[in-house]
Symmetry: C2
Subunit: 346 residues, 2 copies
Amino acid sequence: MERARARKPRIKEERVTSAHGAGGKASQTLTEALFLEELRNPHLEKLEDGAELTLGDSRLALTTDSFVVSPLFFPGGDIGELAVNGTVNDLAVSGARPLYLSAGFIIEEGFPVSELRRVVRSMSQAAERAGVRVVTGDTKVVQKGRADGCYINTTGVGVRETVHELGIDTVRPGDAVLVSGPVGDHGVTVMLERGELDIDADLESDTAPLHDMVAGLLAATPGVRAMRDATRGGVATILNEVATAANVSVVVEEGEVPVRTEVRGASELLGIDPLYVACEGRMVAVVDGESVDTALAALREHPDGAEAAVIGRIGEDPPGLVMLNTAFGGTRIVDLLVGDPLPRIC
Amino acid sequence: MERARARKPRIKEERVTSAHGAGGKASQTLTEALFLEELRNPHLEKLEDGAELTLGDSRLALTTDSFVVSPLFFPGGDIGELAVNGTVNDLAVSGARPLYLSAGFIIEEGFPVSELRRVVRSMSQAAERAGVRVVTGDTKVVQKGRADGCYINTTGVGVRETVHELGIDTVRPGDAVLVSGPVGDHGVTVMLERGELDIDADLESDTAPLHDMVAGLLAATPGVRAMRDATRGGVATILNEVATAANVSVVVEEGEVPVRTEVRGASELLGIDPLYVACEGRMVAVVDGESVDTALAALREHPDGAEAAVIGRIGEDPPGLVMLNTAFGGTRIVDLLVGDPLPRIC
């Protein structure tokens, strides 16, 4: 079984749709057929979440993310905390120590100053927790109806000090796939807060900085191949990226994936697999087969990793595909997300 | 004459207004009383357009800007070119060589893919002209009516190689103030393109990268105290920042300020002094008194600086104020902008 990867991606739509921002198939096509096509350079070509830059004797990482989550405040966090943790995590999983952030605000006229203060205070607390500083910023205001409260871009600079050569293209058959905790809490929490599902559940966003857990994992074993934080598109999207980049298969055991009962229930109502639901404080790590126990122990040693689990393994066939062994004994393909079932969750 | 600077700024408004994004008084209060108050750290305290960071042996500059200009396309440029040049210029005038940019897009659902491509292609050309690379990016899509076509954040990393110690707080009485060309072209061009003024004028945005002209100026003379690109709030806002930071007076000769006839005419209709109108490819430089001729020659040597001029000088009294000697022989105070006469021009 082979997938036609050689064909140059083409954007079929004439207009940008919600799916182009969802992290799945349409996002990938937009990135490759438009952004990469027009801006092509060796840094961008890697299509990693961040770029690695060499400056003098330093190896820097640079990563950017805009946050448009709705609502701005939700159980367990808010857009400010998300904006700090999201960028901290992109740096951390690339193997960089997060150091500095910029913050760009686009604010809708009429937005309460008290809410803005609450958001910025939350950023400040998140920055302190993650050991980073917000060192520069910008504020733009647009008319009512030209934004939605406030949007935040954070761009992060980190320094790569590890000797680990990380990258999803280094993944090999025989490797193991781990997640650092239950998946989908963030995405479902936001959906519930919007009132789009007629259920009550005692659930909180998992938003958290991953830098500390990453440091622990890297210190414990040289067998780490790649790490990713599972945001838009969830764990399934990351595993698809791994399968494609390394030209391997990924086989996931559904029964091993930690999912809270509330998340499972809400996902069923939404008709979506929890594997596609965004987390904001969970990572996927691929480690070589011999390092599984050490890696799992290192993750579990961290308070946020107590429920870490080995959820799958890397195989040879079929290359480029993610297969799920279901709890009922079947097997199905876990493809990239089509459409945007969970808009604006980050 | 003394101004009450010691009083802690306080935000009087309960809701964010257009003026909070205009670069004038309200912007300054929001920055100091909210962003700085909540996020305070030594880097942010300088309230410069960018932060200076030390990493290993390198001195880096980091700066961020979001672009929300309306319309997206205007004579002489578009939001993509603006987004590259704006951040390149913030780096350049801080004395850093611009190297890398991130690009974060917030796109309104329904935005034509062809227009997005046009914007990104324009970014690519601007990046090439400025010698920088867009190395990482992010795309978010929001529902119709939650943005306005597309907004772009660019964050830039540069390296400081100059030995010049630049900063508006180093400005001294006896220094001279220069501008690199006619002021206000960009702001008026955008206003005309919106059709908000019932006049026709053959005018183009001055959007351009300043890195080359800055390098020429710094190479020509060690007497450069400070440089700023004159964007939101125009030249007047920068001069007020200089007056306050260095506790000096700035005396501007109205007759020496280069202003195109079309810009002067449109400004009159708008009831605004061209000194407040945004440029996107002009800089203000303050140099010591002995370096005036060298500095002016260096600016004029650059194609974009052919109309550079010495527009004023730094004095002692009244400290903290910008005074304008008008063409008619009078003198008036040029204060910080109140309100937002030119919304969304960058």
